[in-house]
């Protein structure tokens, strides 16, 4: 891992440790810890999306489906079969990865717009499935009473404990992802993005790597889904709709899709905007989201993570 990544990692850990201390003692923003848990859950998904979009150059407008598959697998196995949540989480990853593989192999043969539409279509199909299979999923009204998580008898039904759990997993996933990026696999992926034909000529198995990353990102999303389920204790299809898929892509793009740190930044910003700061706009958050996304793509195409380097470039007149 290079120095920049290491510094950022240390900075992030520092922030994560300080955050609860700062926030919990201030009444007005005491619930920020809760928001931060959601930031962590979405960060898990978006690190995968960042690998897929920023590094493999592929798009998915259906990642809410993988998030939902993990969530529903956990929820259903824990309530209907009383399976251990950790086992259910593992089962969720296995099922989601399998489905991602089955969908990914033919989908990733498609290019650009076709791939976007195929994943979009897949996402909507899964959403319809959640709505229609009432016996299994509870239909549009969903189902509740999903048990919380415990570790060795310790009940994590507490925001601080859950915060620690979620963000530890985020950090592990982040380190795992950074390691992949800085390896032959990461280089192969980045090469694909710059020139697919040259990458192929170097023996990079283009289709295989696209599928691997697609499946990996689906697995991340599935873990996030399980964490989500046990945190909110309630599931309904509307948490996994088309707009979530698009919002996830937005977070990655707004933060900067060519950089996994950008994905984290975008997730943090848009989740806080959506859950907290945009409440002044009531129902009109969609409008603001659209405006932010458009402004970023038009004027800061590499995302917010590129803001300071870009200012520096502009300052130097380049």
């Amino acid at each position: 891992m290079d120095r920049q990544n290491r510094n950022r990692l240390v900075g992030l850990i520092f922030f994560l440790v300080l955050f609860p201390v700062l926030v919990m003692n201030v009444g007005a923003i005491g619930h920020y810890l809760d928001v931060m848990i959601f930031v962590g859950i979405y960060s898990l998904i978006n690190m995968g999306l960042s690998l897929l979009m920023g590094y493999a150059g592929q798009i998915s407008l259906g990642h809410a489906a993988f998030f939902g598959l993990g969530a529903y697998t956990s929820g259903i196995l824990c309530t209907k079969l009383s399976l251990s949540p950790w086992l259910a989480m593992f089962a969720g990853v296995a099922i989601t990865a399998l489905i991602a593989y089955i969908v990914g192999v033919p989908s990733l043969k498609l290019k650009g717009h076709y791939l976007a539409m195929a994943t979009l279509g897949f996402g909507v199909i899964v959403y319809i499935f959640f709505n229609e299979e009432v016996a299994l999923t509870g239909g549009p009204s969903g189902f509740s009473d999903i048990p919380g998580l415990t570790i060795m008898g310790l009940n994590l039904n507490n925001d601080l404990y859950y915060y620690i759990l979620v963000w530890s997993l985020v950090l592990l996933t982040l380190i795992f992802s950074l390691n992949v990026i800085n390896s032959r696999i990461g280089r192969a992926l980045r090469s694909l993005h710059d020139s697919e034909v040259a990458a192929a000529a170097m023996g990079v198995e283009t289709s295989r790597f696209k599928v691997i990353i697609f499946v990996l990102s689906a697995a991340y999303a599935s873990i996030a889904g399980s964490l989500y389920t046990h945190y909110v204790g309630f599931l309904s299809p509307s948490s996994f709709d088309l707009f979530l898929s698009i919002k996830l892509v937005m977070m990655v793009v707004v933060g900067g899709m060519h950089n996994i740190w950008g994905a984290l930044l975008g997730t943090w910003l848009l989740t806080f905007l959506g859950n907290e700061w945009l409440h002044v706009f009531h129902d009109f958050d969609i409008l603001v989201y659209g405006a932010i996304l458009l402004a970023i793509v038009m004027f800061l195409p590499e995302g917010l993570i590129d803001l300071t380097p870009r200012m520096r470039r502009l300052w130097k007149g380049r």
Binding site: I185, A198, A200, M202
Partner: protein, 264 residues
Amino acid sequence: MSSENFNTFLRVEDLRKSFGGVRALKGLSFTVNSGMIKAIIGPNGAGKTTLFNVITGVFPPNTGSIAFEGVSIDGRKSGEIARLGVSRTFQNVEIFSRMTVLENVMVGRHIQSRAGIISTGFRLLRMRREERQIQESAMEFLQFVGLEHRAGELAGNLPLGEQKLLEIARALATEPKILLLDEPAGGLNTRETEGLAVLIHRILDKGITVVLVEHDMNLVMDISDEIVVMNFGEKIAEGKPKQVKNDPLVIKAYLGEEVDYSNL
């Protein structure tokens, strides 16, 4: 030189490829022997780059066969062909512009390494050792083409001449048996082209066979052992530089092209 020679290395037979209604290759045949420099020349649109693309599996031929070391490679995927020891550069430089120069060559080491997603993600010891080896050998290939001082720079920031060298280093990093160079001298100045000629000979000295598509006739006549002349997807002449130079068909094909005939 007979094509029935026992050391026939690459054999292309009756290769045909068309796009829509355009026939880019119309039954092309030739052979390349081990340890030689073979040039393929012809006017623009003769089908030279298409030929390279078909050989390296960018797209399959419509009919015809390609055998490398006696193994049929037509219709195989690019990656497989690269693994068999065929590497190439591109006419319109296809470097990985957002990666550093060193990383570009490290991608070239891809097929010479094997760490998977688990061992890279968890940075297992085996993977770390392999990573160090990749880096060291990539540096050696950069030194071979004389770009070691550029290792840390973004490849997209290099001038064209160095980007072309980088492509060669990257191709060499796959440890090919045969190297296909697509217009390596295109856009180079005279001094750079001279350097290129020396480099190609040093590549040959490493035991790598070279096939060259090139417009710079001085370079082609200077370094090639044999030349294939193509026009409109067909071979119109083949032989040693001297024979080809005086072939009336060749001269006719080049009429109207900006070519220095004194060199032909």
